[in-house]
Symmetry: C2
Subunit: 353 residues, 2 copies
């Protein structure tokens, strides 16, 4: 047991605590209140004395009472699908410290699927609980987007777009273009794409846009868009393996594969190895993300700044809550082609495989 606890710990009642601080500091309760809430009319010396006394007694202003007083909660809601997913978790990891530094607490809402999303937008459990809401990479229908008007708080979208809302994202069409242009420049003509669905079969907007970039680039290069070379599996490394197994059944088989995410690309590479094929000599593979597994596996990828997407959304929230106009309401962060060992020039061995 900690014997250093002051009287402040022994009572749950705020007034008694404030009285304790007032007695100990030799000032009135009202002075303590003004000093701790940063109001005018208290000298800096008194403010310092009150703060020191409050710290010594481990006194904290009741956050509920002060939230009611200033009609703000000091909290930001963050709605996130699949917390266990690297992309979402990393975005959250980028977002949280920015909000924390602004003394905003983060309330997490984990929307794991369509039912969770429906319930969230129907009931809006964040109402009056948060000063702002951040939506991380969620597929929303129009009705859900409209429900957000009921919140009466700023809404910032990270890793996606909602019309009329401030958002930060990457250009996913450009991601698809960049990946496929890299393969085309290496001489590949039979370029497959591994797409993804979530566990409920939903195709997410990023996947859709990357597939568009894939098609546009093939068309622009005068190459055939062969629908049999586009396969979709459940998101993740297992899905990547299954997708690659299906692609290896095509004749002639693709000489290069663009996977919508590194975790699918790594699964695809594992499947190629098991089939006795060499990467990139038989098949080149490129992913998207720069997942922590990618560099150790020498995967060529399109890096996206996931943590920075979260941090930027956090800064937008802080600016909005500070009453500022956002300099930019639609922020695009850059992506980058990272060439490593899993892509290479097309070989005779690959085209005759």
């Amino acid at each position: 047991l900690d014997r250093t606890r002051g009287p402040a710990e022994r009572h749950a009642d705020e007034h008694a605590n404030m009285s304790d601080v007032a007695s100990a500091a030799g000032v009135s309760v009202s002075t303590v209140s003004r000093a701790l809430r940063g109001k005018a009319g208290v000298s800096e010396a008194t403010r310092e004395k009150v703060r020191a006394t409050a710290a010594r007694l481990s006194y904290v202003v009741s956050p509920e009472a002060s939230a009611l007083a200033r009609r703000s909660t000091g909290r930001v809601g963050v709605a996130v699908p699949h917390i266990g997913n690297w992309f979402c978790a990393t975005m959250l990891a980028g977002l949280e410290p920015v909000l924390r530094r602004a003394e905003l607490d983060v309330l997490i809402y984990h929307l794991r699927g369509a039912a969770d999303r429906d319930r969230f937008f129907e009931r809006l459990p964040v109402r009056r609980k948060v000063d702002a809401l951040v939506l991380i990479a969620l597929p929303l229908d129009e009705a859900q987007q409209e429900r957000l008007d009921l919140l009466g708080t700023p809404v910032v979208v990270a890793g996606g777009r909602v019309d009329g809302r401030p958002h930060v994202a990457i250009d996913d069409v450009a991601v698809g273009r960049r990946a496929v242009e890299h393969l085309v420049a290496l001489g590949h003509e039979r370029i497959a794409m591994i797409r993804s669905r979530d566990h409920e079969g939903v195709v997410w907007p990023a996947d859709h846009d990357r597939a568009l970039g894939y098609r546009l680039t093939l068309q622009g290069a005068g190459l055939e868009v062969d629908d049999r070379l586009v396969v979709s599996e459940q998101w993740g490394p297992r899905g990547g393996r299954r997708a690659m197994a299906r692609l290896l059944d095509r004749h002639p088989r693709p000489t290069a594969v663009f996977a919508v995410a590194d975790e699918m690309a790594l699964g695809a590479i594992e499947q190629l190895r098991r089939a006795g094929l060499a990467v990139p000599e038989d098949v080149s593979v490129i992913g998207v993300d720069e997942h922590p597994m990618s560099e150790p596996h020498d995967l060529t990828t399109i890096r996206q700044p996931v943590s920075e997407l979260g941090a930027t959304a956090g800064r937008m929230v802080v600016e909005l809550l500070g009453g500022a106009e956002l300099a930019e309401r639609e922020v695009r962060l850059p992506t980058e082609l990272v060439v490593r060992a899993t892509t290479g020039p097309v070989t005779t061995r690959a085209t005759t495989g």
Copy 2:
């Protein structure tokens, strides 16, 4: 804009909102209050009518006001290191739905390193903001553990132990034993271990306990414990590669490797491939976790129920907040050896390699 909004949306003031519901339902404000807060003295029919009216007007009880009234916040704090890390994110993904179902909001505190931990335990920012605190897999010193007494709320530890606090964890010594027993049973005698440090050089308790299991098993089997076969690198696949590169410099080299986590094991396997060595013919590799990458890579591992650790911690919190005595204050969840393709019997090729 949503034209279906009722008058409740137009005012931030709770009383006015409640009046709107009262007028629309044809009852008194006090009846609305009692009905929505679940108090006695309201007939079921009236309660239903009030609920329906409140729902139609999108009215919600002010969570702040009702928290003050019942002296509870409706929130649980969750302190988590490295949200971006699969283990922590998956535990959070298991925990959140359990708390959500109990209508508890989740406040996240991301403690990324020693400085964040020091600040958190010094300032205890969760005080009066939460009804309970969950600590996910954090290394705490004694002073930090004592500070928790100041909270005056239940504290539940998930993925670790804090003396005197309810906790749910796996037996990490048994994990180390199980992994090494598997390798010993396959005839391996030169068994290496890849250990980890975090980005600040801290060795976490799970790593320490798994290393203890490794040593005890080797000793129990009458095998030499060769300190040159135990290497430590920064946590993650890149660290796994570096650790394996160091182990390949040992003569004679190990015929099997126990890695403290799958993500390090997968990095080690990549390094073996690059060195032209076959897994398991030249070197067997076993990890711990059952990370999503493990099955697609056919990695032998000790599965731990990460999501279930989080869910169990959530259930303990809900029980404690319901005023229940916990049936078990120290819960151990089982782990399981999953044998796949990266471990095999020791070969002459391996021992003469």
